[in-house]
Assembly symmetry: D2
Homo-oligomer: 274 residues x 4
């Protein structure tokens, strides 16, 4: 099974490159599953229902979120009628939406998509490790689920790597998001789970984590807010990770970074190109 995960879509530049490139990638790489982190899709802050629909139309099978999940307040409402929208599973009980979704891949496979938030240097949510245990317990990889994708939205590389090892053998892919920078440590862990510390963002890299650099620089140097954060408007890059799984076990057999467009060095999965 062929899956593509794309990191945090950042405002209009991010949405545009996903809209422009994703349909072609689905076709040329014969993708069975696409998961996209959409927590910054609406001007950098949250997601709207219209954007959710657009991302699905472009080829996404599930959308994950993060600390910006509900920056657009409408998400608190429409998430309950958006079965492919997944927010961190370790929000308190009673939070709208779901932290786990069983979606049907383009090839008919059943894929469990999980989103979890780290707690190091972040808002103190419920225990991500215990939450993952509960979510994975009833969904044995290769039996109940043909594939399991875990988006661990976290600041600290240590916490993301710990989640990777913790779920190794129980997921097809554990991929970090939130730092908005793609890491180059894609690999398959000893238990068969593909891992990448951070998928990076889909957005313009000539800024500060996708934001126009002027206001962040002013805040860092003057310690005073003087304006709003706006997504950087230059050429965007699409960033993520490509994984091929064994259909029988659901574990990863190939992993490669994906970086297309903008100012980053291009990366494509050689094993799907010919």
């Amino acid at each position: 099974m062929r899956m593509l995960f794309l990191g945090d879509v950042m405002g209009r530049p991010g949405r545009e490159i996903v809209g422009a490139r994703l349909p072609g990638l689905v076709a040329s790489w014969k993708l069975d599953l696409v998961v996209v982190n959409g927590e910054n899709a609406a001007g950098g802050f949250g997601i709207t229902e219209a954007i959710y629909e657009d991302l699905l139309a472009a080829g996404a099978d599930a959308i994950t979120l993060g600390n910006h999940s509900f920056d657009q307040r409408e998400a608190l409402v429409f998430i309950d009628r958006a079965p492919a929208l997944v927010r961190p599973l370790n929000y308190p009980a009673g939070t709208p939406g779901r932290g786990a979704a069983l979606v049907e891949a383009k090839n008919g496979a059943r894929v469990l998509v999980l989103n979890v938030m780290g707690r190091i240097f972040m808002d103190p949510l419920d225990d991500p490790f215990a939450g993952l245990d509960r979510a994975l317990d009833g969904a044995m990889l290769g039996e109940v689920a043909d594939a399991v994708v875990i988006d661990v939205h976290a600041e600290a590389s240590s916490e993301k790597q710990a989640v990777g090892h913790y779920c190794d053998g129980r997921a097809s892919l554990v991929v970090g998001t939130h730092t908005h920078v793609p890491t180059a440590d894609h690999r398959i862990l000893t238990g068969g789970t593909a891992f990448l510390t951070d998928a990076g963002m889909c957005g313009c890299y000539d800024g500060v984590i996708g934001m126009d650099k002027e206001e962040p620089l002013r805040r860092f140097t003057r310690k005073l807010a003087s304006g709003r954060f706006e997504p950087a408007s230059g050429p965007a890059s699409l960033c993520g990770v490509a994984v091929e799984t064994d259909d029988r076990t659901g574990l990863a057999v190939k992993v490669a970074p994906v970086r297309l467009g903008g100012s980053l060095g291009e990366a494509r999965p050689a094993f799907w190109e010919n």
Copy 2:
């Protein structure tokens, strides 16, 4: 001018791969300058004088540090007789050692090496931006210094990118360290400064930021310490970034990631291979 920067050397596995591979790289890539972050070289915590000498012997021209600078208390003493050892420049006045060193490269060029620490999610040191201004003011790139290398040791990708833009045009290279994961966003900023959010670590990646994974996993899941952190002991990777500068301006003309050995995908600067 050809320069190589290597990220945080992590314990014995990190020292061994640097010792084994760096001399050959200096020769085959005809390197003029090598800078290595050594804050974790001594068992993961700080650096000793013997290790400092070993790193120089392996080919390093300067060693930078970070939040673990003085974990080995002897560093508070020997740093004052170690002219190529650079600790963050934004420690308080009176801190042993120096935050800036003008070193002579292998080709005789004068290179200013700076080390600065970020403050987001880290110990509150002095203002890194103001400190960089002071350090760069008297060392105009292309005039006083033939090259300027800045190691920004920081947690947050936003702060590292802000430093990159802030120093763009004033440095040959701004490279982040501390997260122990190589990022894939190497590029040359609009002002001519090569930039990479994090160089990654020289150490074993089958752990948690280079530590054996058992103890970190216990602490994340049980919230209790139950043992010591020990560097992971598997095959190590050497990680960093290669930059070629224009001898006249000191600005970057080429940049490429370097990843050799261990479980990471190999990356070499094509422009130096033949």
Copy 3:
């Protein structure tokens, strides 16, 4: 019912003043219940079994803990045979010990003692509010429990006050610990729960939160550790809060601060003196 809560006992000076003064207070104030926070009793870091026994012998009916609960590793073992030792209830499942204890007061009353840790500026444990709900659900004040005492060990005044309001009417007393400074905002909330943001510490106040001031000052000014933290050794103060409850409802009817000895202004519950 008459209860006294004493804040974090800090090292030997704290233990000595508790040992010297508590027995007399139990007698003269005719105390029915004494709860003492013991997280710093062993040299500032954790508690040993011998100290636990000594505090009980001095008059304590229950001992609460905090972020230093297990600094003395023996506590991980002896806590399971120490029925009056209560650690924060929001540690992960499987943590040794208990977060709630139903103890028998000196007058035979059944008192539920809870310890919970805040998460703002602290280690990310489980949700303290949800944990308190679970602990309080089966222990209706005035029915199952004659009194309920909640020690909320937290840094932020906002979080401690939020716990107070959250449990108002369900507890006899909600009292904060951890900052090592007594606050002067003792009062009875609208639902009948006595509240104090912080009980302060039992220890020497001529230091930095009970530690000898030299090392903390060096760390604040030099940003380097240069020695160990040692409890300040001057005259100690005993600090806490006195509460009288209605025997029928278990709610508070009187509350007053207690400060005896050392460099602080003395405070005694006028309603028990005559």
Copy 4:
């Protein structure tokens, strides 16, 4: 010399009790100097010029600030024509306003008023200790300045106590602000400086740090914002600290807490009442 320091004035309830009570206190206690922290005076967030004038009219001789200094953007402008308005001295160079003001007391004495911000659990500003050294160097107590008042706006009790000891003998009063809870540890340090870890707030205490409790409780329990923070609107308390200095040395000879009105226990300086 008789001085009164009042903690963070919180919105309209805070302004009203200060306006109603301060003029009478100035008269009856024959106050020579009044310093008020005004960082929350405008609806909980910052200060306006009109409020600044009102506080002076009520009897304040200087107004200090904190992390909310510039929440009302007009403060960035009017602070430069407001000589008695003091913002933390460890903002970056170039920040509007001043961190130190030499004001004339009601008795004609010259009083140096300093405001500094802590960095533990707060935004990383410049070194507060080094900044205080610079501010105090030219203003020897008892010579250049008849009195020195330092408002240390900080979260951690450790950092506030460290500032107290650090400035002991160089200031008449070091008083903390920011937690919005009065502490009961008023005392005169060994060098002659009056100290209090936190002055508390002037506002309504039946809330969460002066805010109406509903929204804070929702955020703590649901981890989602669902409305705005509004100052709690019940009866307010006026909180602060009274200090009498030796006119010759400028050091403190008497210190007492002040708490008037609202739900807190009343405290008055007995040495000024008769």
